[in-house]
Subunit: 218 residues, 3 copies
């Protein structure tokens, strides 16, 4: 066994799909949607980012459609939420934690897949960020929520950018392996969760503007 | 003439486009949108699912862009709704009926196109469902409606899944032809319309949860 | 130097990206979103239409991902809005003007790219319109606004259609060059701005219907 990653291993991608899928099913449970909707939201958020990534890479049909294994995580997530939600629903942070796990893994797999298929390092960072935030954006737009991505009371895209940039740099210098990948995932996860917990905020879009009391609460 | 389908015939795809396009123009009429918006919604819902399908199959530009005939159904649907809506507007079920017709045909053409281009039967079912529900999802998200797909008081994706699974099984066993195709379309259409008429409901996303009186009425 | 365009020049595409990106950042400023959201909206509206175009053309990964220069306009737009918005915010028409500039350039570059890659003239017009309206539609759907495209009190898609049709006709007859391109851009820009200023309205989707006082004000 080697520790070097030439490409994103399938199990890492599937783990990211599972984390995102759980966040989709948790949102369905909260919104009192039925179990079919739960499976659809789990699939959309779990597979959406990767499908966008593979369509942009343009190297054949997306992995989610050619590899039946990709259908397992959404089904598993829907079943877990169906049976276990009553026991865990008081832990309201769970949706954000699973979403952060998906974000941490997807910014890596998106960047690595892009680099492995010959994209330049800058474009690979862009595709990594797109992969990581794409599924969650589809989830929120479809479920008619304000996208977490544009929530001014929290930071969502910056951790994905940091993770993609770290991944791209490590890969270019030949240092991307199981150990450094674990470090990148931990950094992205911790950054996102801390930003959410402590309501870290980026400056507003206009120099000198202050947040108003009428803005939504964090 | 042979009754066997090796691939989805263009006329079947065009008929599905027409059904979906009418549902788009009817929504535009109900929402008091102008005629340009009516044509755009008709095109989006009629062509959207097929464009997503062809992009995922990755076998060249989508048929809707390379075959000018695909532009006829949205124009026709917009014109029909423009002239005939005052005479039929009391039949409020019409939008759902045309939408069900599109659903019945698109889950078949999506599955067959995927099988004919070499996808495995499981992935073909997934693409069939995506094709069938894709256009309607785009219509509802764009027109800022709660997607019918996530309406917990009705069943929308399950008939498409049943139709795609039947199509895939018939094709694998070499039994897919004009007659069995008509049976599949009739089953999907009847299933969807009955589910809507009688408000069949799937279980909620969480085991043991009941519908609440505060949930939207069917 | 020749005045003939065989394909859409990159600088013309980049200029269109910049105009649309400014409209995205201006919307972020108005909605009191943070600077990360401003950059994301600028990228989505600036690059979205072109990415959809390149995915449909299916000629390899989209230019926005392979050419790092495409990342400059969104960054520039975000920075300009960040520093200059306080001085220009009373000119509330600015968002519409920049959006109209993007529309004028994108309907041309979309049509030309389609023609240059071998699409037929009718399909090229369709792709030109899709390119021109795609980014703005993504912007409005993501930011949870009613899409300008479906605003019955204004005309948005028709100028893009006129521009695409003019471009396609000029290209087919070998008359598309720097001078005629400038004329097309001016026509589309003037048409869109006049339609907005004077609230030109298309007929409603149903023959004989009148606008109601309950419809949104122009």
């Amino acid at each position: 066994m080697t520790f070097a990653f030439d490409n994103a291993p399938v199990w890492l991608d599937l783990l990211g799909v599972f984390f995102f899928a759980v966040s989709g099913s948790l949102l369905a449970a909260r919104k009192h949607i039925d179990i079919v909707g739960s499976l659809l939201l789990a699939s959309l958020v779990g597979l959406g980012g990767g499908v966008i990534r593979d369509i942009i890479l343009n190297t054949g049909p997306p992995a989610a459609f050619t590899t039946p294994a990709y259908l397992v995580p959404p089904v598993l997530a829907t079943a877990l939420v169906y049976f276990l939600f009553p026991y865990v629903q008081r832990y309201t942070s769970m949706l954000t934690l699973f979403d952060a796990g998906g974000l941490a893994l997807f910014c890596m797999t998106g960047t690595i897949k892009a680099l492995a298929s010959g994209m330049n390092p800058v474009a690979s960072v862009l595709l990594g960020v797109t992969t990581a935030v794409g599924g969650g954006l589809l989830r929120d737009v479809t479920a008619n929520e304000v996208p977490e991505l544009f929530n001014p009371k929290s930071i969502y895209a910056v951790p994905a950018f940091v993770g993609s940039a770290m991944t791209s740099a490590l890969w270019v210098f030949g240092l991307f392996n199981v150990l450094t990948a674990a470090v990148v995932a931990a950094v992205v996860f911790a950054f996102r969760v801390l930003a959410w917990r402590r309501s870290w905020q980026a400056p507003l879009a206009v120099n000198g503007w202050q947040r108003r009391s009428s803005d939504p609460k964090p």
